[in-house]
Symmetry: C2
Subunit: 251 residues, 2 copies
DNA sequence: GATTCGTTCAAACGTTCGTTTTAATCTTAG
DNA sequence: CTAAGATTAAAACGAACGTTTGAACGAATC
């Protein structure tokens, strides 16, 4: 029961370095020797402290996602308590979900933009153990927020809400992961491209600006008119079936 | 057997198999032996026909992106000719850009959803040779469409348009790549999750449904109200500076 | 029939991978 | 201090990686 409270310096240095290198190179292209070399620890230290490379990646995420999803649930709890049973506004829900994440990008102690970029890229990684891990980590949060959106938008078919949640996750995921792509390929900053003043290489400013621009976009997409189908007419409004059995990864 | 191998038979089988395996496993996690084994060709055939594994990946994309971006430019040419000098409607521009792509998902001869998923996933891969390749392939198309959007939305700061283009690419990229993630992790189809009738395992239907739902979302996001900045006031409308020096990957 | 040339083949190349082993070192409670 | 356990160090493991080699094949050309 008593956790070993070693708080090993080696352990934390490995996690910090792995977080950065996985972000820069991807999981497969990052070798144990690159990690232990950059962290200035022995090669065997990773297997000693974490067991395997896969377990290392999981731990890199666990220490961040634990905080993230806990705070997301708390934010939703707070909003629902304030509303006193009434449905929330979509903007409140998005702010709680995406705002909590984007605030991590401004805080170096929570991983900063390094972790956000890693997360954005890893969500599209096809490796099975990664998808399984994310599905488990996100199951509760996604389900809670989906239910909140169902209540907030009672006139929108639930299938449509699921799709749009999917789209929103993608916009944010790619926007985060892509800013670095842009930087590397072009050598300029996103805001800089269209004439804005350049960013100091301060991730805090990037995270804040990203949040300010992403939120209106997501809200506009979420509340867009429903699509017109060219297929034979079919029921647009589904029952709130308990089909919420699924769990899926999201950012 | 009467089946006769033409000189390009091996080459095409390698490309088709590589396209599928890169999509399923990612570039790094797909070995030459997996590819040549599944294609039932000799291990050395890849290096003989393409030169290297990197060159193989580039060729997998080149044969599809050539068609895609050519058709995108033609679609834009057609619209601009019809408009006779007047700005296009944002919906027309999005339809030309994203619609052309999504139509590839409905056509097996153009790669179908397999290629779309591969594209969506590869765009976030951090390997330098991949980013460099995409930047070159997309430079002209992105620039043309960006200019069209500038003209279509003269009151929106160009920096904002660049950001929103970025968001739209992300929503589409992740939506495509994610449908398979969803299928594998949960064993159910996206539309199925919220009570819709299940899809026959027909990628054509998935591509069409995706397009019908994505387009209103993107349009809603593109036309959303501009963000309010909490930073000191600064100029919102930039000059059409020739900062269009950059080229960047997009889906 | 012999020659040529593009293609396929089996085998091996050297390197790097994640992991394991065994010993040395550090930390700390009795 | 000493014994015991936790951590680090150095070296090696077998497997898999992308690539190269040199010979064999097959269908045209002379």
């Amino acid at each position: 029961m008593s956790e070993q409270k070693t708080s090993s310096d080696t352990r934390d240095r490995i996690l910090d370095v792995a977080e950065r290198l996985f972000m820069e190179n991807g999981y497969e292209a990052t070798s144990m020797r690159m990690i232990t070399g950059a962290a200035e620890v022995n090669l065997a230290a990773v297997n000693y402290h974490f067991g395997s490379k896969e377990a290392l990646l999981r731990e890199v995420f666990r220490r961040r996602l634990g905080w993230l999803n806990e705070n997301r649930l708390q934010a939703l709890d707070r909003l629902e308590a304030q509303a006193g049973g009434a449905p929330l506004k979509p903007s409140q829900i998005l702010e709680a979900f995406f705002g909590t994440l984007l605030r991590m990008g401004e805080d170096k102690a929570l991983g900063g933009m390094t972790f956000l970029r890693l997360l954005g890229r890893t969500l599209t990684e096809p490796a099975e153990f990664i998808r399984t891990f994310f599905a488990g980590e996100y199951a509760e949060v996604i389900d809670r927020y989906k239910q909140a959106l169902y209540r907030a938008l009672p006139d929108v078919p639930q299938a449509e809400i699921v799709w749009r949640l999917h789209f929103m996750l993608g916009a944010m995921s790619y926007a985060i992961a892509g800013t670095d792509v842009l930087r590397v390929v072009t050598g300029v900053e996103v805001g800089d491209l269209a004439g804005e003043r350049p960013l100091q290489d301060d991730d805090t400013a990037l995270a804040r600006r990203l949040a300010q621009r992403l939120m209106p976009f997501l809200l506009g997409g979420l509340r867009a008119p429903l699509p017109q189908f060219d297929e034979p007419a079919r029921i647009q409004k589904e029952l709130p079936t308990q089909a919420a059995r699924e769990s899926r990864p999201g950012i």
